[in-house]
Amino acid sequence: MAPSASPLNTATAREYASPAEAAHVALTAILADLDRLDRQHSVESAGVELAGFEPAGLADAAIRSAAIRGVCVDAPPGAGKSTLAVAATRHLTEADRPVMIVTQTNEQADDLVDRLAGDCPGLSIGRLHKSGYLAPPRVTRHAGITLGEDAQSLESCQAIVSTAAKWAYAKPIAPRWAIVDEVYQMRSDALLLLGNRFERALFVGDPGQLDPFSAYETDQWAGSDFNPLDNAMDVTLRNNPGLPVHTLPVSWRLPPSAVPLVSQAFYPNGPFEAGTRPEQRSLVFGADDSGDRAADEALDRAAQTGWSYLELPHRHTLRTDEQVAEQIARVAVGLLRRGAVAVSERSPSGGPVTAERIAIGTAHRDQRQAVKRQLRRLGGAPTEAITVDTANTLQGREFDVTIAWHPLSGRADASRFHLETGRLCVLLSRHRHACIVVGRAGIQEVLDANPGDHEARLGVPPKFPDGWFAHQSVLAHLRSSSHHVPVTS
């Protein structure tokens, strides 16, 4: 969740001529902070007075005190986290500061390596990995990337990229600057394992997504400043209250149609706006009939308004509701059959929405399987490349069109799991063009009957927005006539 008080507030886009400018200002401010930390650091290690430390507008006083060793950045969906990571890496390495980059998954690590190699020619990049790792094409296609299973062998690289898990087991190398990505999905105990491998760090993450969790349920550390179950950002800020916290003010992924809902429902503490204008994004179909009326109507609505809510008749079902799974598959298949084309600032002339550009999000793993089975049945091979995954694994990913299985569909009640704000946020914020939500009628009643337990814990600030409220406002939006597609029979 977004840290409440932040010593410096990057201006929101509204105050600037264009989103691009606002984003640029934010980025510059962040890099400037990195410089301050770095200068202070080198001065400290040189052990001389802070002479000629030119005063700057930001939290200099704080930063001068050795307490400040990190910069935190809240980045809403598609606000350019990796762009920032790349920029920061270039910035630091150009100042001869070697960098260690920490990601949460190998996917993310490979994506980042790809971006770095592409944007920073000449940068020596190390990809630290576990044994049995197979480098994907997007990594192997670049020259100047060294793969290695132990950190020492990569020590000469300016930037070493790996997952938190691998870093934790790697033999120690000389401390360097760290860039920690998706820090809100990183558990604080995982950061504790790495804490001595870096002296200064840039923490980047999306406060709206899912909190880390553990199969071992316990409240024994509730309220502790070191609760290992809390995310790494919250714990670092609790122990270093002075750290500057920036917010990236612009989403380059979400279309203008999605930003208002996502921003107000999930980011009350750090509102953001769309980087594109409505006319820059559109979704058009080659054919207007896929053979499934409901799916077609949902697709048309989604194309027009960016959202649609395909609502099956009410009934209580198992988690793996085959009818919902089938309906979702039909929408996905319809999307392919109708030859959807996405027009955007990236491809003004329009690019085909291929299977790779489509994602289906579920709450549970067995739902994922049910959808895959229906896809195989209805769509066959062409649908193989469609990403079908749980909210947890979809975090940080981006697609043209997403189809979400509503977490409360067919349920008789709403558990804490199903009301979790982050889960809903992830499902509704992966798309560049449109999001189709599929569920059963009756969700409103389930919500009204299950306001959540609202358990209080000393020393644990309540999280905002509350999942129940987020669900209420999202549902109100989806059921509005412009998105609602009820399926009768």
């Binding site: 409240d219 509730a222 309220g223 009934r315 209580h316 079902t317 198992l318 793996t320 509701d321 085959e322 067919g410 349920r411 008789a412 009640d413 009643e445 009204d448 009957a449 306001p451 959540g452 337990d453 609202h454 358990e455 209080a456 814990r457 000393l458 020393g459 600030p461 309540p462 905002f464 509350d466 129940w468 409220f469 209420q472």
Partner: protein, 395 residues
């Protein structure tokens, strides 16, 4: 969204009729907070709105409530509250100085439980609570306007309309910083040990204070015009520290609880419908005819109860006097709810335990809507059979 009050203004009379001649049972903050436990239980909604004494009712219909508070718990709570209140709230004032940075000068105290207040007002034909409420609002107003140097309001009385039914609520204290905000204070006897309090007690306490927050906001808004942020989202709880009697103050942000309760309060409109749907003959009159004979027989009361839909959960036994009755009802109906939400979730679209069993044992065929769930259940039953038979001796 229109507020409960507006929708409900008419129903108060009909609710009184439902309650019959028995004295109404006021709403307590705890009762209101209980909305969060099971908001869609029509039965509890109606009875609470009508001010029916569920405890007595449960007794009458033969399912005596198993709740009770130990005299020791009560004594302990009273003794601790006395420690916090004595010497002009000296302990509380110390804590306010430590935790909310009250200045030395901010030590003014008002005792709104002073019988003289009630005495004075009964002269103008007000009930004691009405009188204390009037005085409370007047003093809060003065404090807000800075004309009265009062920092601690002891035992104030707030008013809140619950679905058209007026309720008077009595927080332990409200505190006010000059030119600052009002903060609700609760005095609780559960301990804070090494910075942590028992989750259940703490949550209950926070919800309770949240209700006071709502009432305080609405009362101030009426008295001063809309001024929502004159009440802090944080509440102060005064509890014994570790294993001692020494009071310690902890602060918790109750906004989430307050938001949720406020939203539910506004949705209480449902009561209207519930009253309307009640059969003409049905009421919950617990009074007697003066000659000691009950106006309503247990049978009549039970029938009336059954005419209002309940939403039984096993956990009701922890927070509702009527749980015993509702459980009995669920038992007679063989409702899956009896076995808990987990089992009920495993039986989607299956209305009774017997149906479930006959379906699982292949004795009946599932409806199309049930097919999927039943297939899964039969698979589970098969696996269970296999695995048990594989190892004799047990079972």
């Amino acid at each position: 969204m229109t507020t409960g009050q507006e929708q409900e203004s008419g129903s108060a009379g009909r609710l009184a009729a439902v309650r019959g001649a028995a004295a109404p049972q006021g709403f307590s903050a705890r009762k209101i907070a209980a909305l969060l436990d099971n908001p869609e239980c029509g039965r509890r909604k109606l009875l609470d709105a009508a001010g029916v004494d569920k405890r007595v009712l449960a007794d009458r219909v033969g399912y005596p409530s198993l709740f009770g508070q130990s005299p020791f718990a009560i004594a302990r709570a009273a003794a601790f509250a006395e420690i916090v209140r004595r010497d002009g709230f000296a302990e509380l004032i110390r804590l306010l100085r430590d935790t909310l940075n009250f200045s030395l000068a901010e030590a003014g105290v008002a005792d709104l439980a002073d019988p003289a207040i009630a005495a004075a007002a009964t002269a103008d034909g007000l009930s004691a609570q009405e009188a204390r409420h009037r005085e409370t609002v007047a003093l809060l107003r003065d404090a807000a306007l800075g004309t009265q140097p009062i920092a601690v309001f002891g035992s104030p009385v707030l008013a809140l309309s619950i679905g058209g039914v007026p309720a008077y609520l009595e927080p332990d204290a409200i505190v006010h910083r000059e030119g600052g905000r009002f903060t609700v204070v609760g005095i609780k006897a559960f301990p804070v040990i090494d910075g942590q309090a028992p989750a259940a007690s703490l949550t209950a306490a926070v919800k309770q204070q949240a209700v006071y927050q709502i009432a305080l906001r609405r009362n101030l808004a009426d008295a001063l015009g809309d001024d929502a942020d004159s009440v802090a989202d944080e509440v102060v709880l005064v509890c014994p520290e570790n294993y001692s009697n020494r009071p310690i103050a902890v602060i918790h942000n109750a906004k989430q609880q307050a938001d949720a309760i406020a939203l539910l309060l506004d949705r209480l409109g449902g009561v209207d419908r519930l009253v309307a749907d009640l059969p003409a003959a049905a009421d919950f009159d617990l009074s007697d005819d003066g000659a000691g004979a009950a106006r309503r027989s247990p049978g009549e009361l039970a029938t009336a109860l059954e005419s209002v839909g309940a939403r039984y959960l096993p956990t009701c036994r922890a927070n509702c006097d009527l749980a015993g009755f509702c459980r009995g009802e669920a038992e007679r109906a063989g409702s899956p709810a009896l076995l808990g939400p987990d089992v009920r979730d495993a039986l989607p679209g299956i209305m009774s335990i017997d149906d479930a069993l006959t379906l699982i044992n292949d004795e009946t065929d599932p409806s199309p809507d049930q097919a999927e769930a039943v297939a899964h259940l039969r698979r589970a039953a098969r696996l269970r059979r296999e695995s048990l038979s594989r190892t004799e001796g047990v079972a």
